[in-house]
Amino acid sequence: MNSKHIGLKLYGAFVALILVLPTLIVIPVSFSNKSSFVFPDGWSLRWYETFFTDRGWMAASWNSVQIGLLSALLATVAGTAAAIGLTRWSRRKTSSTLSSILLSPMVVPGIVMAIGIYMLFSQIGLLGTVHGFVIAHAMLGIPFVVVAVTASLSGLDVQLEKAAASMGATPFGVFRQITLPLIVPGVASGALFAFVSSFDEVIVSLFIKSPFLETLPVRMYSSVTDDSNPTIAAAGTLVLLFTTLILAVGSAFSRSRRRKLSPRSSK
């Protein structure tokens, strides 16, 4: 490319700004000295103070972390097992049907799942419980794990497992000492995305929350309409920071790992 693409480049810069810039407005507003979402003329930390001293915000944050960790754990274990099963099972037809069922949360509109889950959970008493949140969020996180682990498995040399088995390793031994270490990057990135997706989930949570148990996004969502003070901007900035940090650490980890393995995996 050369100078004749100058118009295209300018347009590209414009689009790049559209992608990133609007979101960043929550940062200055969170440091506002005003008690509305107006662009501030002076700075203060009072909204962070409100956030960290308010019981409701703190409880919601803690719930989000707890539910995120538990649901990511559940999604990772179930999703990894499923990915291995689906890749290796000799019944290709059945396993491709099952795989589309497991991936369906990606294409079914959130509101459709939310209504259905609400009806089911109200019948079996899971509304407003940690169990309910963990089950629903794990289901939503499984596709990320299945996609990531399946990708890892496709790069795995099956001969290694056969070799281990032929030298007397038990099936579980093969899994623990050969398979698992080789697919760890996929498992880890699946777990990461499962956590972040739970941490950010609004629509299903909105239906299964109770006055006594809500997550951070639910509280943020309801406070946009209810209080309209910049505490939610402070919360938003912290969420932005937190998720960026998690994913940055995750990608740094996977990059350093890839570098270690790079002599063999030529790509």
Binding site: M1, H5, L8, Y11, V15, L19, V20, T23, V26, F37, V38, F39, L74, V77, A78, A82, G85, L86, T87, R88, W89, S90, R92, S95, L98, S99, I101, L102, L103, S104, P105, V107, P109, V112, M113, I115, G116, M119, L120, A136, A138, M139, P143, V146, V147, T150, A151, L153, S154, V158, E161, P171, M220, Y221, V224, I232, A233, G236, L240, T244
Partner: protein, 302 residues
Amino acid sequence: MSEVSTAGAVQHADRHAAPESRPATSRRSVRPRDAYGLMVLPALALAAVGILYPVALSLWNSLTKSDGGQNAYAWLWENPVYMEILMRTFSTALLTVLLCLGLGYPFAYLMAISGPKVRAMLIAFTLFPFWISGLVRTFAWVIIFQKDGPLATMAPMLFGDGLLRTAAAVQIGLVQVLLPFMVLPLFNVMKGIDMRLVAAAESLGARPLVAFGRVFLPLSLPGIFAGSLVVFVMTLGYYVLPQMLGSSRQALIGQAIFTQANDLNNLGRSGALSVILLVISLALLAVSAWGRRYLPGSRGQR
């Protein structure tokens, strides 16, 4: 929701993995082969509780529950408001697709022809929104659009009262939030296009614009198709964004479902609307899976 784009990756991975894994499991394996099937069960149980049964419940309610003594589908059919909502949802989704294409196509093209450094930067710009909370991104637009917000302050003549609670606000928000889902599939296809073909056309006397239009554009069609589909289907199902930025008088189908279920407790009607939304979404995806085979350049591409 980087969902739909990654869903394709799995199918690819599956297809690649199949021939390799078969010999490992079929003949000499010591383990009973159906043990692999059992490994799917925990995830399947979660899917049953989290999606299969709930969706079936909506379907069942839509058929059996008659709020106000009338079958839910018949009621929807007789009520022009819902046809209007459905049409509004479609036109909003279509406009979102067109605007995302207008912004995303040149951007993806720039990504495809740039050197590795610039390309990595542009990819980072595209992935940034994936990284951060969708709720925070929508909330940022609430700040921008509100009365006395930055937009109203910058252009008081035009937007003195802000744009919040308007269809324009919803449209702008949707385009910005969904743009990455257009750019990534476009870029995925474009990076596989052999630029020497365009150069060859030009060397044979085609003007650059003609070479682009006759060679590059047709080859990029699978990307246009995939990106448009993802953006369209995702717009259909959005609830939180239109609710935060728009007004209930110009509700989209997601909001109509919420109102029927939560505010009016009409589970039959909300079920019927859910089923309609789900059927349309899945039908579009199925048609596209079928149609993709007939697009140029869809084979032999990663």
